[in-house]
């Protein structure tokens, strides 16, 4: 890369606006993963997440002047655009939960085994995570957003409030209610294997 990695986002964006493809690519590579993760965790759908990421960067490409560097970081601006797209997507398909995540090549997403777990343990772990994901996706959108931003993206409350465009107290309240719902669901899920074990 000819452009230094440390180059600021706004400088890169100005270059991209003048037709510098390399600058645009660098911006994309810098921010795409965060946007994709956020969209994926909010929608639970790889295709939707892909489409949202594409839309976000199309906005940046077609109308770079929409971003005002004096109002905050580019990442926050992109989050805002991604959030709008996510909300629109969820309005269209409020309860879309795919049965199986697919990779680009069409295979299942799977989990990389990092320990010497047995296939049974691996399968249990996989099933558990699927259930957690389903529990998160079943939360109402505003609670889900608070949980995704604060618990999964590990943003501070201030950052999450900024992203969601609401006061910090609102985030805290949404997070509280989201947690309560999530804990209830996860408690139920936790009980299921125990009961299954007991039945055996």
């Amino acid at each position: 890369m000819r452009i230094a990695e440390q180059e600021r986002d706004d400088v890169l964006l100005r270059r991209a606006a003048k037709g510098d493809e390399e600058a645009f690519t660098l911006l994309y590579r810098r921010h795409q993963a965060a946007m994709y993760r956020f969209a994926l965790r909010m929608t639970g759908n790889t295709w939707a997440a892909e489409e949202i990421v594409q839309d976000v960067f199309m906005v940046l490409m077609r109308d770079p002047k929409k971003y005002d560097a004096t109002r905050g970081a580019l990442g926050a601006f992109l989050y805002g655009v991604a959030r709008n797209r996510v909300m629109k997507h969820l309005e269209r398909r409020p309860r879309e939960i795919p049965l199986e995540e697919k990779n680009e090549d069409g295979t299942g997403s799977g989990i990389v085994l990092q320990d010497s777990a047995t296939p049974a343990m691996w399968a249990e772990k996989r099933e558990r995570r699927r259930q957690v994901r389903a529990a998160v996706l079943e939360l109402p959108v505003e609670f889900r957003e608070a949980v995704v931003l604060c618990e999964l993206e590990e943003l501070s409350y201030e950052e999450a409030a900024q992203m969601a465009g609401c006061p910090i107290g609102t985030i805290r309240s949404r997070l509280h209610r989201g947690r309560a719902l999530l804990m209830a669901k996860l408690e139920i899920l936790r009980e299921l294997p125990r009961r299954a074990s007991a039945a055996r």
Binding site: A33, R62, L182
Partner: protein
């Protein structure tokens, strides 16, 4: 701190930077004294562990490479289109400017021609018979020095570098007939004095010195009844 307050701010008191140290201490103290809230915190920590495991699953998730490809393709298309549009606009303006310039030059030439014509209206129309009598032997063959009228031939001989320069000795003579024109066509003809570039003589079928083609000269045209020039001469 009360249980309701603990549920809202105490569960994540250590992480919440917006809380004061006093509130954190109060949350810790409440959890140590209230078994229900302590159990709630344990439960939340267990749920948090589940969430972290889920987050790890997607921590390395990235948009597929095809998204980058599509965006780059779109970027190229957009900027090439913009460039082409700009080039087209510049070209259009350049063409318009050239057209205006050409129009202005043509108009200026036409105006000069009009002035010349007005000046020449004062010149009396010679009788065709007189023209026929003058030494227009050159009409047979302009390139043949022997056929050039006497006055013209004298001047041509005086300028060896420009043997084909046409110069008239007086108003009635010195005309060189253009190819295809005959003395009989000159009845009721008029003499028209015009200013043109030497190169334009080529269009009348006369030989032109290419080096001096851009030079502006004044010529007398013998214009027939049909409005077509029959003969030409260079006035002194």
């Amino acid at each position: 701190m009360k249980c309701e307050e603990f549920e809202i701010i105490g569960l994540d008191a250590e992480r919440d930077a917006s809380l004061s140290e006093v509130q954190r201490v109060a949350a810790r103290e409440h959890a140590s004294t209230c078994s229900r809230c302590a159990a709630l915190q344990d439960s939340w920590q267990a749920a948090g562990a589940e969430l972290r495991a889920f987050a790890e699953d997607t921590a390395l998730a990235q948009a597929p490479a095809r998204v980058e490809m599509r965006l780059r393709q779109e970027f190229r298309t957009q900027h090439v289109t913009l460039k082409a549009r700009r080039t087209a606009v510049v070209a259009a303006w350049a063409l318009a400017a050239a057209a205006v310039l050409a129009g202005a030059v043509s108009w200026r030439n036409w105006r000069h021609g009009q002035h010349g014509e007005a000046a020449n209206r004062a010149i009396p129309v010679p009788a065709a018979s007189k023209l026929a009598e003058s030494d227009f032997a050159a009409r047979a063959n302009r390139r043949d020095p022997a056929a050039v009228p006497s006055g013209t031939r004298q001047r041509a001989l005086a300028e060896p570098g420009h043997p084909e320069t046409l110069v008239a000795d007086n108003e009635m003579s010195g005309f060189t007939f253009l190819p295809g024109a005959f003395a009989t066509d000159t009845e009721e003809a008029a003499i028209l004095r015009v200013r043109l570039q030497r190169g334009a003589l080529g269009a009348l079928g006369l030989p032109v010195n290419e080096e001096r083609a851009a030079e502006w000269i004044q010529v007398d045209l013998l214009v027939g009844e049909d409005g077509l020039p029959q003969a030409v001469r260079l006035p002194r």
